[in-house]
């Protein structure tokens, strides 16, 4: 990783939004991501935090950041964020950002109804999905975002599960079907890309979502490897970086080196003894799909309106 600070654009170093003193696991990849998000979004923001590990990132009696934090429940969180954005709009306070922050459990499963609702109504909310591929706050159970076949607290070993039992939900495809202005995937290990996507998202008035896969200690790796694991998730093709504008126009933002999947999996206990063949097939299919969609030619009229 040969990045200089000016390349990263992160000076001055004292300009912090988020500080130590919170209760996340040592080495939590989600907090690395959240810091970068807060850095880009700036202090004039309201964060609606759906039940998740983020409860410990801003523990009850105090806060460790300079934005307003509102804890909320799965079922209501996204709607509350929409309400806030409307209230700000009515008061003419257009320079403030409303952010809804959810885990994968919140966005893929329990809060999906609310998420779909605000997407349909095109609420002026920036949604950050912290996808740590499971219900990690409650100990690491399987969620709609858990990849096929891996070991969680609530799944059987791979060989006992029927091969085609389930696949990971594709959240961006679900939301693309809502024809929302902006959707993107990003990674904490690619700070410039994350920063650029957030800035672009904030230029849109309406629904925008950035889906970030972050490394969680429940995956069973050593804490110091959190950023390495997040980087390998991208480089092996597990987590493609792309964006979708207007729900139709796809753009791949990073071409990975397609390192062997084993580089990623052997660092993590959750893949122990797992047959990777199906997972590799899923990844190959996803990339084939993405490339097809990204290569689609657009008529001039569509290009202007998107």
């Amino acid at each position: 990783m040969r990045l200089t600070a000016s390349e990263l654009g992160i000076r001055p170093f004292s300009n912090d939004r988020y500080f130590g003193g919170h209760g996340a696991c040592p080495g939590c990849g989600a907090v690395s991501m959240l810091r970068q998000v807060m850095q880009t979004v700036g202090p004039k923001a309201y964060y609606f935090i759906l039940a998740s590990c983020a409860g410990s990132y801003f523990p009850g009696e105090f806060t460790v950041c300079d934005s307003s934090i509102i804890f909320t429940v799965y079922a209501a969180g996204f709607a509350e964020a929409e309400g806030m954005s409307q209230a700000l709009e009515l008061r003419g306070r257009t320079d403030e950002t409303v952010v809804a922050y959810s885990g994968d459990g919140g966005a893929f499963d329990i809060g999906l109804g609310g998420l779909s609702g605000i997407a349909e109504r095109n609420a002026n909310v920036l949604v950050i999905v912290n996808d740590n591929q499971g219900y990690q706050n409650t100990g690491g159970q399987q969620s709609g975002g858990t990849p096929r076949g891996i070991i969680t607290k609530s799944t059987q070993p791979f060989h006992q599960v029927p091969a085609a039992a389930r696949n990971r939900k594709d959240l961006l495809e679900l939301l693309a079907a809502h024809r929302v202005p902006y959707l993107a995937t990003a990674s904490a290990a690619f700070p410039r890309d994350l920063d650029a996507k957030l800035r672009k998202a904030l230029t849109y008035k309406g629904f925008k979502l950035v889906h970030v896969v972050t490394a969680c200690l429940n995956w069973g790796f050593e804490s110091r490897l959190a950023i390495r694991v997040a980087r390998l998730a991208v480089e092996t093709g597990v987590h493609p970086l792309y964006e979708i504008e207007g729900g139709r126009r796809y753009r791949l933002s990073y071409e990975p080196t397609f390192a062997p999947l084993e580089d990623f999996t052997r660092l993590q206990r959750r893949f122990q003894g797992v047959d990777l063949a199906l997972l590799k097939q899923d990844i190959a299919e996803r990339w084939e799909d993405l490339r097809y969609k990204a290569a689609r030619a657009w008529p001039a009229s569509a290009r202007q309106s998107a």
Partner: protein, 89 residues
């Protein structure tokens, strides 16, 4: 860390808010070898606890909050940070 937000907040007295001294969790401590540090800020960027402080010519960890995860040592391109066993000193 203490805050006074210029905007509406949930607390009337943000200055009095408490924080957890998560430095107590640490098993290993990051030690920056100043001579090797190129002042690039990569450790600052990725430390999950924001305990890396800019000391002008190099960076150093704020041990009040550092949880000893070792992320900074792993991402440092100059291998300037070593993790030493925490002896409580």
């Amino acid at each position: 860390m203490r805050f006074r937000s210029p905007f509406e907040g949930a607390w009337a007295d943000p200055d009095s808010m408490l924080v957890v001294r998560t430095g107590d969790w640490r098993l290993e401590r990051p030690v920056v070898r100043e001579a090797r540090c190129s002042h690039c800020g990569v450790c600052w960027l990725w430390c999950p606890n924001n305990c890396i402080r800019d000391l002008g010519t190099h960076f150093s960890a704020d041990l009040t909050y550092c949880k000893g995860c070792g992320v900074c040592a792993r991402v440092c391109p100059a291998a300037a940070i070593v993790m030493r066993e925490e002896d409580g000193a």
